[in-house]
């Protein structure tokens, strides 16, 4: 069991490989289109890879700098959505922030464990990052999860219960939201089980401000916490992997495509 538990971080890397492969597949799907590609072009348009290289060299009509600025302000910060609905903007920002935050925390842990520590680099940073009970790790982890849940709850309620006059909810929408919700929700009991399995003292565990109260509720059950933690971790990873595999074939691909499209469109509009 210890060996299995020790395999947690390699699982992360396998998951990252899946994400990378899926993303490559998505890009390949887009790039394959360049062999043809009429689009908005006229009879003088040059198709194919040569056309793509020429287009990249020429850059966007409004220039790279302006386009990149709009990728940030309109593709990621969604100014138009902000103007139309503060509530939806907040919900989206919470989901995006929470999701990116959790991804960064996981990536940071993997970096510390597999690169910095073996190379003996930044031992102080490694010590903090690999200590899940350190306030700098525990507080952001709990908060990012909470943000993701809050944003997801709003999106789910809007889609399922207040769909407005005509907003259709279909299986792909529900599946994406359900997976996100499951990943975010399962993170808290997972943290509680870890605190119980590692018998983390209250003084250190309190920074997990949701996981620790939950752990105290569970403690009287007296289960084999290490095993429970291991299996819940597997389920958690399975859900995350499913989401990442599903990503390039679902509307989740908007995470990559939307900032580019929004940046280009807003830059051209001078928004």
């Amino acid at each position: 069991m210890d060996a299995l538990i020790a395999a947690r971080l390699p699982i992360f890397w396998r998951m990252m490989a899946v994400v990378g492969l899926a993303t490559l597949l998505a890009f390949a799907r887009w790039l394959a289109l360049l062999a043809g590609g009429h689009g908005e072009a006229g009879p003088g348009h040059r198709a194919g890879w040569r056309g793509l290289l020429r287009a990249l060299k020429r850059g966007p009509a409004v220039g790279w700098r302006r386009t990149l600025a709009h990728v940030l302000s309109d593709g990621l910060l969604h100014r138009r959505l902000y103007r139309r609905s503060r509530a939806r903007w907040l919900a989206h920002a919470a989901m995006l922030g929470g999701f990116l935050g959790l991804m960064c925390m996981s990536a940071l842990a993997a970096l510390a464990e597999h690169i910095l520590r073996p190379l003996g680099l930044a031992p102080g940073v490694v010590a903090v990052v690999l200590n899940k009970d350190h306030p700098l790790m525990a507080l952001p982890n709990e908060t990012f999860g909470l943000l993701l849940l809050a944003g997801g709850a709003y999106a789910g309620l809007r889609r399922l219960f207040w769909p407005g006059p005509n907003l259709p909810s279909e299986r792909p929408d529900v599946l994406a939201l359900a997976l996100l919700a499951f990943i975010a929700i399962s993170g808290y009991p997972l943290e509680s089980l870890r605190l119980l399995a590692e018998a983390v003292p209250a003084q250190a565990a309190r920074y997990s401000y949701i996981g620790w109260p939950l752990a105290r509720l569970l403690a009287p059950l007296g289960l084999r916490w290490a095993e429970w933690h291991f299996w819940l971790f597997q389920v958690h990873v399975l859900a995350a992997s499913t989401l990442f595999i599903y990503w390039p074939f679902s509307k989740m691909l908007h995470v990559l495509a939307a900032p580019l499209v929004a940046g280009l469109g807003a830059a051209e509009e001078g928004g």
Binding site: A26, W30, L31, L33, L34, A35, G36, G37, H38, G39, E40, A41, G42, P43, G44, A47, L52, D74, G75, H78, R80, L81, R84, R88, P163, G164, P165, N166, L167, P168, S169, E170, R171, P172, D173, K251, L253, H254, L256, A257, A258, L260, V261, A262, L264, G265, A266, E269, G271
Partner: protein, 440 residues
Amino acid sequence: MAHRNAAIIRLDRSQLSLRQMLSLDACTRCGECLPACPVLATTGSGESTALSKIDLWRRALRRGTDRTPAPSPPPQLPGRAPRQPSGVGGMATTRPGLGLLRPVPSGRLLSAAYDCTLCGRCEAVCPVYIRTHDLWVAQRRQLAVAGLAPDAVLQMAERVRQSGNIAGSAAEERLAWLANAGEGAAPAPASAHPDVVLFVGCLSSLYPQAFALPQALLGLLRLLGVNVAILGESEVCCGFPLYASGLEQEAFALARRNVELLKGSGARKVITSCPSCYHTLNVLYRRWLGAEMDLPVLHSTQYLDGLAGELAPRLRPLAEPLAGPITYHDPCDLGRLSGIYEPPRRLLRLIPGLELVEMAEHHEQALCCGGGGDVEMVNAGLSGAIAGRRLAQGQATGARALATACPQCKRALTSAARSARIRLRTYDVAELLLLSAEGK
């Protein structure tokens, strides 16, 4: 099984640009576009909404299409269809099981693509700035390349091929509108080096409901001492109806011919009162022909706005029944597509005593008149019903008349007002200016 596969028609992906393919993936189905869609608001059918079209196309690109009609008939106009469990009337839904592998019926793609006025309201509200207007045209191009374009569209293309105009009229009929345009209206010879050349367009030349537009514009230009030329019988369709219906390739020859004629006129500027012609000449011709199209193009309201200083002293208050508030309808191709909102309004405000009142939806949010996107050609009932909604918004302002700056908007709104017996007359901005200048 082989037989079944043979019936599947693959949409030509190369008709979409990389950006358009990215746009299909950028849509999050957030639904912001739904309240903006005039077709959904008018019929209750969500098939033509941006959300639905993007979803349908994602699947059609993967699975192909076939020559089968839409599975259920679209809801009847003008009533709204009852809400369906998974979305709205006919809106794209993902079917479970083997349905996931089934090609998308071409009937659904056709009604989604062609029951759309290309008004661009979805583009104006999309949080990720998807260029829907260009995307919808590209989708129509895919259908046309696959041999699925509606008969009405193919007939229109044939008329243009045969006669050089959408009406299928003889070339000499292009001058019919000049009959009542007053003296000195004959086209200036090329050697006269006119200040501007007026590209009249098929609608204003060949459809009597729109004759008043070029007549009024010519009257105003004469009043202002502008030396104007027209292409007369030689003018051919700008190509916009072909472009908008997915037959862009057929428009290139028309573009070349018009550019040759415009340059041959000796004028330094081109003006047109039709927003679709304006977009075609100003944007599409440059895209299609590159440096070959080097003449500046202005919409008539832009040109007159530039002459406001000379125009204003000649204007007098409008007489009854036009004395009172007037509302302005933003044509989609002039407003959202070309970004021209203020010149027509500034011109109207030049008229002494005219009170310009805005409708509930205006500028970027303006409702479509129903006449765009070749919808009138393939679904006249839908076009009229949308126009009726716009007229209702106009009536709600208490305006005496509705002003616009587009011959197709004028036609669509006038026809709808007649058939629905709505007492709100539509004028072009140039008509009101001329009436004011003439003290009528």
